[in-house]
């Protein structure tokens, strides 16, 4: 213990003031001794010989004078094979193991090994005398379907290390030595398959960062075609309660075309996490044929768990994402919800008696949110492989009003905005992404010209709809009425998607493009329809066939028949364009 005489001098909620002697760094982890338990906390402010710690546990029974032990380490996570399929709390405590040990409740002060003590078949890829840098691989193990690279810890300060010892190919425990390295200065270090990394520091062991220019396919039509996200990009999903944020994220986590999905359930309902926990092991990943759980890590710090750990949980998640990126994989991080994370910062800021910013959020809110989203990115690793971390965060704005600080700070830094609207969810139009106000800066799967034409129909349709509310259907021209019906058609058969239908819930790119082209031909067509009654009848018919088509397997007999009938119907009303 390096800080003698560190002891508690004040408690206020989850903030504890500590007097100390000697050195102490910001974000250093300390343990408060209360009776027989040790409560973990993180230093967030140092002032003379007093430090303020945010404690990751309930602070009841702490007394002035209780001893505090500092660890000299920043808040870190352990990285190594065995992270996948795990369920952690915000501080990387494995929850199933904790349940096995403590039963129903989260007992405070119990910290278990995050990486299961397991044997792995290790294959060395270096030999004695090889020179390595941090993040270079010394060997590999097979973690499920992935080749997990055992790397030189990123935290090794020196850039030049020589291998002095490497084990033979064989089965080793995750914590037994697999290599020894010596630096140019003569320092010798031993390597196991596990090392730790401070969560609030981005891992930057890559050659360069690239522009996110490849679409990340989610199999959700409105996203892939109209509001695409990119591998290595960022996006946010704000929406009022009940608008379907979490359902949308679950759909994405199931179908996204990435190697690994990390779900950070941050301050939301425990029940929603349970659905993932119980469902994912049953579902198969269409890409690999294995259980979806094999590509998933869940970080779960639900709303009733201690607030400070909630703040840490998103960092824990993004650090793991960056770690797997170092292996050349594409990782998607879904954070639900970043508002709860921001609220955790607000609670802390209040206890520190900082001067409040807007709605009492700390003044640093924007920069903190920005630096979190900036940890996403597509990179070229030193071995030339391209890998990425994509971050998608939901935002739960107070009162469903997007003008609040968290939504606004997030909008500044993300590449795509999928705003959910109450009107759409009330009308049971799912996914309830508002196609008019949402935007994306990324490249989608479809032809841009066609997409922008389809969008213009949507805008025009909404204008006409507004107008019709005033002048009534009678006062609208047939031509306008057709445009309005076209926009309604686009909305109901393409933008909306039934997440419970086995076919419609996940739509492949080829199918999306095929259907979009079919739809586009109708949107573009100059229709010869005499009056509104005929217009209505025509679009009702097209819509019905199109919806049936959405529910039939791609290019099946039923599908082809429906497609033919739609084309025929359209052709029969086609004017001389």
């Amino acid at each position: 213990m390096k800080n003698n005489n560190a002891h508690v001098i004040g408690v206020n909620g989850n903030m504890v003031k500590v007097a100390f002697e000697g050195t102490l760094s910001k974000n250093e982890v300390g343990y408060i001794h209360v009776g027989t338990s040790r409560l973990k906390g993180e230093v967030i402010r140092v002032n003379g010989s007093e430090a303020s710690m945010q404690v990751f546990e309930m602070t009841g029974s702490i007394a002035v004078g209780d001893e505090v032990e500092f660890s000299s380490e920043l808040l870190s996570v352990e990285l190594g094979p065995g992270l996948l399929t795990q369920i952690y709390d915000g501080l990387q405590n494995p929850l199933p193991d904790l349940a096995a040990q403590c039963g129903f409740f989260l007992q405070r002060g119990v910290y278990l090994d995050p990486i299961p003590s397991k044997d792995w078949e290790f294959t060395p890829v270096v030999k004695v005398g090889d020179r390595l840098r941090p993040a270079d691989a010394v060997g590999t193990v097979m973690e499920g379907i992935f080749t997990h690279r055992i790397m030189v810890p990123f935290s090794f300060e020196d850039e030049d290390w020589t291998v002095t010892h490497i084990v033979e190919k064989g089965v080793y425990n995750v914590r037994s030595e697999v290599a020894r390295l010596k630096s140019a200065k003569g320092v010798e270090r031993s390597l196991t398959m596990v090392f730790s990394w401070p969560v609030k520091k981005a891992i930057k062991c890559y050659r360069e960062r690239l522009r996110p220019d490849e679409t990340l396919v989610t199999k959700i039509r409105i996203i892939d075609t109209f509001l695409p996200i990119a591998k290595g990009g960022t996006y946010c999903v704000p929406g009022p309660f009940g608008a379907g944020k979490t359902v949308l994220q679950h759909m994405t986590s199931r179908n996204a075309d990435v190697d690994i999905v990390i779900i950070a359930a941050c301050g939301e309902r425990a029940g929603e996490v349970v659905e993932v926990l119980k469902e994912f092991p049953e579902l198969t990943d269409p890409k690999t044929g294995k259980s979806l759980m094999e590509r998933t890590i869940i970080i779960c710090n639900t709303s009733s768990m201690p607030v400070a750990a909630r703040e840490a949980s998103v960092y824990t998640a993004v650090t793991m994402a960056e770690y797997y990126r170092q292996m050349g994989l594409n990782v998607l991080l879904l954070a639900d919800s970043t508002s709860r994370w921001a609220q955790a910062m607000r609670e802390m800021s209040g206890r520190l008696e900082e001067i409040p910013g807007e709605e009492a959020f700390p003044a640093s809110l924007e920069s903190v949110i920005a630096s979190f989203y900036e940890r996403a990115g597509k990179v070229r690793l030193r071995d030339g492989k391209i890998a990425s971390v994509t971050i998608g965060g939901t935002v739960s704005p107070a009162g469903g009003n997007f003008e609040e600080p968290v939504t606004q700070a997030t909008l500044k830094v993300v590449g795509a905005f999928h705003g959910l609207s109450r009107e759409r969810s009330d009308a049971r139009k799912y996914p309830a992404i508002d196609p008019l106000s949402s935007w994306s800066k990324y490249k989608g799967i479809a032809d841009e010209k066609k997409v922008s034409y389809a969008r213009s129909i949507l805008f025009r349709g909404s204008e006409i709809n507004q107008m019709m509310k005033v002048v009534g259907e009678e006062g609208t021209s047939v031509e306008d009425y057709i445009t309005y019906q076209k926009s309604e058609l686009l909305d109901s058969v393409y933008l909306q998607q039934n997440s419970f239908d086995p076919v419609d819930s996940a739509v492949e790119v080829t199918r999306q493009l095929y259907c979009f082209d079919l739809l586009y031909s109708i949107l573009k067509a100059k229709l010869e329809l005499a009056d509104k009654k005929e217009v209505r009848a025509f679009f009702n018919q097209v819509r019905q066939s199109f919806l049936d088509l959405n529910n039939s397997a791609f290019k099946s007999e039923a599908f082809m028949a429906l497609e033919a009938s739609i084309r025929e119907l359209a052709a029969s009303k086609q004017g001389r364009a």
């Binding site: 004040g10 206020n12 199933p96 989260l106 425990a270 029940g271 209040g350």
Partner: protein
Amino acid sequence: MQKVYTKIESIVGNVITVRAQGVRYNDLAMVGKSLANVIKLDGELVSLQVFAGAQGISTTDEVRFLGYPMKVSYSENLLGRVFNGSGKPMDNGPELDENLIEIGGPSVNPAKRIIPRNMIRTGIPMIDVFNTLVESQKLPIFSVSGEPYNQLLARIAMQAEVDLIVLGGMGLKYDDYLYFKDTLKESGAMDRTIMFIHTASDPTVECTMIPDLALAVAERFALDGKKVLVLLTDMTNFCDALKEMAITMEQVPSNRGYPGDLYSSLASRYEKAVDFEGAGSVTILGVTTMPGDDVTHPVPDNTGYITEGQYYLKGGRIEPFGSLSRLKQQVNKDTREDHRALMDGMIKLYAAYKESVEKKSMGFMMSEWDNKLLDYGKLFEARLMDLSVNIPLEDALDEGWEILASCFEPNETGLKSDLIVKFWPRTEE
């Protein structure tokens, strides 16, 4: 360590500060005759919130630290009893101090939770049929002052098929407290009920203790295998009490004066709803009055993000629109085959009825279809929506078919043909 201090340094609102040593955070103390708990430690300065309020406390009053946090007695003897926010009896019964348990305990490990699977029958069609209440659900009733939300809660307490009711009343009018007590006594439900009551005239601090007391007791009964329903009314008063305490403690307010941790405070209470595998369960039904009928007010807004749906109580009826039980899908597939389809179909027709009403009020011509809808809407409101209707789920479903049959032709309802063949009431015979 029962040390006694007699020098109170400051008295602000309901918070007193005293110089003391060896005091632990969250511990209890006796200040004069009232309980108090430690809410802040700063060196030797200990801040305590006095449950009975700081009125009349003098700077030389005794402060005696008890050395343990707030506890509540837990045993079968609680049944049928009424306590206040300090855990003291309100019903002239004996004080209970056996088998004390801590309140505000740790949260349940998410890995130990299970997917909810049992419905709770209430005999109220608007709940059972349209927004089924599910064991381990947390659901608020969004309402406005003046609506009969307490009457609704009392009815649910009497009728719900659960082993035990724990009623937490916050800022209750004394009349309402008596109403609860009398109604439950008359119906015989009192001996499976435990009440923790804070009336509007009681001290604010006690209001903030009610949910924790009620939930701690409920949780223990659930662990012992009981199916517990916790009724909390009115959570807006609880939030206002938190606000008052936060302002007294000079915390920076975040939104309309409420403290920044309002969401966490509410969540840590509502998340106590749980189904213990191999034991009992806790289900929470709360009342949240919306000031000014504004759902974006911080209290209903934060509540909505935490709970699994909500019931809107408006005009003395549970509104079919807006009301939502997020967990109903888990159970309404196993009740009766026509449950889901009938639920959707009837709501769609009711929505059409509302449109017709609007058209009528604007003076448009009523078509034959409109008239059918108007008849339907009236029947629907009288025979299913009315809060006095008290029938089991199956009867309510049959009633639904009757209403449909008396207003429409089968093909006008949009229901699937096989269901119509099976359930459409036959007029001949």
